[in-house]
């Protein structure tokens, strides 16, 4: 067992967990932040994407202990009073159907916009589609997800 401490959505948390605890289980089962989903549990689908120290990672493929001391942001932490521009864009563009993949899509969307802005690159439609490589949606066919991220990229 290990005491794992980190800052999640701006709040310092500490839990005693088994060493083998995955970050996604720490977030869902110990912190009860169930917006982060487990889809495939094999790092293919991206439903579990959260930000660790500002970077998108698959929380099903990282140990909670490895995130000790890190700043973690989950889907619950992106809105600041009002919806985050990425959340609003998914709403505006009907960027979801069943919604299961949406938390991961939004976390990946924010990450890609931040990276492209930092590097001064243009996030066009082709780039968004390539960047969504690790996020699977079985409902939408992706078109409205791409539109949503494109809209948010212009507003962030």
């Amino acid at each position: 067992m290990a005491t794992v401490s980190m800052t999640v959505n701006g709040k310092v948390v500490a839990e005693v967990v088994e060493d083998r605890t995955l970050l996604v289980d720490y977030i869902r089962e110990h912190l009860r932040l169930t917006g982060t989903h487990v889809g495939c549990d094999t790092s293919q689908c991206g439903a579990c994407v959260v930000h660790v120290n500002g970077k998108a990672v698959k929380s099903c493929t990282m140990l909670a202990a490895a995130a000790d001391g890190a700043e973690v942001t989950t889907i619950e932490g992106v809105a600041n009073g009002d919806l985050h521009p990425m959340q609003k864009a998914f709403n505006d563009n009907h960027g979801l159907q069943c919604g299961f993949c949406t938390p991961g899509m939004i976390m990946s969307g924010i990450d890609m916009v931040n990276r492209y802005k930092a590097e001064g690159k243009t996030l066009d439609e082709a780039a968004i589609r390539a960047e969504l490589e690790g996020n699977i949606c079985r409902c939408t066919g992706y078109h409205n997800i791409v539109k949503s991220i494109s809209q948010a990229a212009g507003e962030m």
Binding site: A56, A66, G134
Partner: protein, 265 residues
């Protein structure tokens, strides 16, 4: 998830000490292969020694034409390093097409090289660039390092600290990814440097990454895609599975090699 005991290493020496003290320990780099493997119960290390945060094993330095990349440098860092991209765009492009963006934020060069998956991308780059693999004990030439599928020259408990190579005059990687997994069904890295032309193939061979002497000879005469037109690639020794049979992969080797040469310019 398989039960295990987790340790965070503060330095390479600390990692070596913690590993030697474990009953059946394993090094944990980015974990993008090891954690899924443990979930499937295909690996069951008693202890994990996390080296991903060891500073002395991170970072990229370019000194003249010599490139050194720390073993714990992530794929995202290799892909986005402007200095590296300007001197050796082939390896930056390769890193930018491993897995997906989230995987690239965690996965490391050293983890990939040490694992030597037969469909991994980095082994092809290391072999084609004639890289030197520096461990906590010695330096190993890439030609001696890769010893067949999932097999390397690393001894028990030996740890990769960094890799270094001379940036080639020309070099590029072309990959045909499996449409589902994105692992290479065939990936070819070509490099033309001071030591001549080197061609390394991953994803296609049934015993891991290999060099193609026939292609190297043809490209030494003329470094152009057309120079490969008359090279025949045998289906012997190629992987054969539901994604593609040996003849298909042999053909892919030639097609990817030609694309890599064209991309190298």
């Amino acid at each position: 998830m398989q039960n295990t005991t987790y340790h965070k290493a503060s330095s390479a020496a600390d990692a070596a000490a913690k590993l030697s003290g474990a009953e059946d320990g394993a090094l944990l780099a980015g974990g993008q292969t090891l954690i899924p493997t443990m979930k499937q119960r295909l690996a069951a290390p008693s202890d994990l020694v996390d080296i991903s945060g060891v500073e002395e094993m991170r970072g990229i330095t370019v000194s003249g034409s010599t490139v050194t990349i720390g073993a714990m440098t992530t794929h995202a860092e290799v892909a986005s390093n402007a200095e590296l991209r300007s001197i050796c765009p082939g390896i930056a492009d390769l890193a930018g097409h491993i897995g997906d963006p989230a995987v690239r934020h965690r996965g490391t060069l050293g983890g990939s090289v040490a694992n030597n998956d037969p469909a991994a991308d980095y082994p092809a780059a290391m072999l084609a660039l004639g890289a030197t693999i520096k461990t906590d004990k010695r330096e190993i030439a890439a030609d001696d390092f890769f010893q067949g599928m999932f097999s390397t020259a690393l001894d028990e408990g030996e740890m990769i600290v960094s890799v270094s190579f001379e940036a080639p005059a020309k070099g590029a990687y072309a990959k045909f990814p499996n449409p589902a997994s994105r692992y290479a069904m065939c990936g070819v890295f070509v490099a033309q440097g001071a030591g001549g032309v080197r061609v390394a193939v991953t994803g296609a061979g049934d015993d891991g990454v290999f060099r193609s002497a026939d292609m190297e000879d043809a490209l030494s005469g003329s470094f152009s895609a057309e120079a490969l037109d008359n090279v025949s690639v045998s289906a012997d020794g190629m992987l054969s599975d539901i994604h593609g049979d040996a003849a298909y992969r042999a053909n892919l080797v030639k097609v990817m090699a030609k694309r890599a040469v064209a991309a190298a310019g």
